[in-house]
């Protein structure tokens, strides 16, 4: 360690790393809220009934049979994601028996598929191919829930923006206060260093390196606290999504289950981002304070 680095002021309290620990926790939470809400709502919406049934009239002369195969083919080619297929006869028999007394006639052909947004297009196609077909759409849960889901997503984004901006303002305020206090308390030492020929840039570089290192350490601490926090929150929400409680931490980041895997990569990058932003802001505030001190001498 050089003599210069030993005389350049260093952050003496544990306050700075602790503050950056909290800021990282807040930033991580802010990033997780919209991603978690999106993934959670996706999982939730998957469980809404979107089964559409297309019943073709009971075949008397085999005409319906002739309609079923081309209609199924057309549906499969036009809406493969809806997974159209013919309901097995046993299932049809079981369903009909639950509605009424035992079905004695010929069983109708029923095509089953899963769709909600594409339902109007499916209707159009079915009526073109088989005008006598009866379409039984799914309950209108999804369309009614759509505004609520959108509102949740929007509010999650707004909340994330507010927390992120708050965290960034907190970083700026914290660093300005720290640099200002340090510059005031060490004005005599700094003046002596400058009078001995030290360069202001050398001083600010050394000081900024120290502050950013402290911020980096604090931020890693924040990440370490953040992961169990997210695990706790997501585990608490899993029963609401009809998901079983997880047994391993890795399940927290299972794709399409709750939090996306990319989130953990972003969380790992937060300490680097915090260190970089702290370094830049410390340099800026140090030069502002130095200029002020020079003028006030």
């Amino acid at each position: 360690m050089t003599r210069l680095s030993r005389v350049v002021p260093r952050p003496k309290t544990a306050f700075l790393p602790l503050a950056f620990c909290l800021i990282t926790w807040l930033l991580g939470l802010a990033l997780s809220i919209p991603l978690g809400t999106k993934a959670g709502l996706y999982t939730w919406s998957q469980q809404i009934n979107d089964t559409t049934l297309i019943a073709l009239p009971t075949p008397l002369d085999g005409a319906a049979d002739l309609q079923t195969a081309p209609l199924l083919l057309a549906l499969k080619s036009a809406f493969p994601e809806a997974d159209p297929h013919i309901l097995p006869a046993e299932d049809i028999q079981e369903n009909l028996s639950s509605w009424t007394t035992a079905w004695t006639g010929t069983l109708p052909n029923i095509i089953i598929l899963h769709a909600s947004e594409t339902l109007p297009s499916i209707n159009k196609l079915v009526l073109q191919q088989a005008p006598h077909a009866i379409i039984i759409p799914p309950p209108a849960q999804k369309s009614r829930l759509w505004p609520f889901i959108n509102s949740l997503k929007f509010n999650a984004k707004i909340l994330a923006y507010i927390i992120s901006i708050g965290a960034l303002l907190l970083i700026a305020t914290l660093l300005y206060g720290h640099v200002y206090t340090t510059c005031r308390h060490t004005a005599a030492e700094r003046r002596l260093l400058l009078s001995l020929g030290a360069n202001t840039q050398q001083l600010s570089n050394l000081f900024a390196n120290r502050v950013s290192f402290m911020a980096f350490l604090g931020s890693i601490g924040g990440d370490i606290i953040l992961i169990p926090t997210l695990a706790f929150i997501s585990n608490s929400l899993r029963p609401l999504l009809h998901l079983p409680p997880y047994h391993h931490l890795s399940e927290l980041f299972t794709p399409h289950l709750f939090l996306p895997v990319s989130l953990i990569e972003i969380l790992c990058l937060i300490p680097c981002f915090i260190a970089a932003i702290s370094w830049g802001l410390t340099q800026l505030f140090f030069h502002i304070n130095i200029t002020k001190t020079h003028l006030s001498l």
């Binding site: 003599r3 210069l4 030993r6 005389v7 005599a188 002596l192 009078s195 020929g197 202001t200 001498l297």
Partner: protein
Amino acid sequence: MITLHQVLLPTDHSLTPTGRQSISLHIKRGSVLWLHGPAGSGKTKLLETIALQHPLQTGSMRIMERDAGPKITEKTRGILQRCISYLPARPTFFETLNIFDNIALPLELNHLHHADIIKETGAILRWFQLDDQAHKHPSQVNFTTLQRAACARALITQPAILLVDEPIFSLSRSLRELFFSTIKELTRNGTTTLLATQDNTYSNLLPGDQLLLPIASPQTSHTTAPFHTETREHTPPQPMPEAPAP
């Protein structure tokens, strides 16, 4: 070497009606200038201004052919401050460094090699008889030792300009003679020296020009008659003379 033109400096109101004096002077390389005057006459302020401790508000100043006036750049300030040693009335030290490191710091800031720093610092510590105090921290030594250390720190870089404030002359006689003999040696090598004092008797120890402060008229100019009239180039730092035999 040093040129001041209409630089306004504050004085005590009892000494000048306006409480300010305008100083214009030219000091040649290798000359010695004694600043005389009562307390509040602006001696220390003048030294601090030349030491670039205060930003110049009015007038102009050139040091070593560089503009050191109100528009001085940070780069120029750094370059000039490495060539100027200012020995203030109350020298300050870094408590985190011991006496050795405090004295060696200006050499490190001048980017000298580690071996040279050790050699030069060792030599000047012996010269000022500070060997046995070298590893103590400033709070652990007495005021006289601190003054010796301040002299050593000011002289270790063999500065082009040396500015000395009065209280340093209250050193013991032996140390004062040692100090002045070192300044004489540096002056021969081209160092320009300004010394502030209220007591004329000290000026016998080092012959030089005299400037009485405060300057009454705001337009008074003063050009020093150089102690060494010939123009000399600044020589690179020379190794410190060997320590005197105990």
